[in-house]
């Protein structure tokens, strides 16, 4: 059941919307950056192994 936030709905919903959005952006950014770094390193190491 949805709680009745009354006159403070903007403050509460705004806090949750901004807070959760920022958390989601942080998590997604860090995971994507890690994936990109892993792929790039694998690519460089692969090319290096190919030369040797």
């Amino acid at each position: 059941m949805m709680p009745d936030l009354g006159k403070y709905a903007f403050a509460v919903l705004g806090s949750y919307a901004v807070g959760l959005a920022l958390l989601a952006i942080l998590v997604i950014w860090m995971v994507l950056r890690n994936t990109a770094a892993r792929k790039r390193l694998e690519q460089i190491e692969g090319a290096r192994d190919g030369q040797n």
């Binding site: 709680p3 009354g6 006159k7 942080l26 290096r48």
Partner: protein, 241 residues
Amino acid sequence: MSLWEYANPVKFLSFSGKIVPWFAAGAALFIAVGLYWGYFLTPDDYKQGSTVKIIYLHVPAALIAINAWFMMLVASLIWLIRRHHVSALAARAAAPIGIVMTLITLITGALWGQPMWGTWWAWDPRLTSFLILFLFYLGYVALWAAIDNPDTAADLTSVLCMVGSIFAVMSRYAVLFWNQGLHQGASLSLDKEKNVADVFYQPLLMSITGFVLLFVALVLIGTRTEIRIRRASALLARERG
């Protein structure tokens, strides 16, 4: 087995790869339960009405914002004393997390403050020290990005981290130091009498646990990223040289 073994990047990557999923799953579970419990199952506060629900985001984010800086301080000191690269990279990895947590604290604080204090912002000691902490985080990230030599960058950012620790301490204890301003005292205390009521305390504890687990998971992921970027740069430099 010594903790220092994990200063070896290969061992760190291997070990952290195994524990990250557990921390991430724990974070998701605790945050989901804490926020659901706090938002849907707790009553309004007799003074603050439904705005008390903001506590489940505001307090955990503030706690991480301050303690992330202390984690960076410890990692920076380890770098300065023992020159372990993983330690410097862990400090670097924690900074973006600290930025986001400080931002969440400032924004949710403003949204909470407007209906309670009648203003979005006041130059209150705790609010001001938090804003300065936020600027220190930005400066820390900018300094890492501005210096090409990674060891020099690690040295200088470590010094900046030590200076910024003053503001991290102030963010935590500003209310006690000055005993003035709009912001209330700490919501959590070892003294049970000073804590928020149990009905708010239990979901808050769940949410805090979730944020701590999330912080650990993200620091590990970020450190793994920085190690890989450093390794890729070193390999490319070796090929060119």
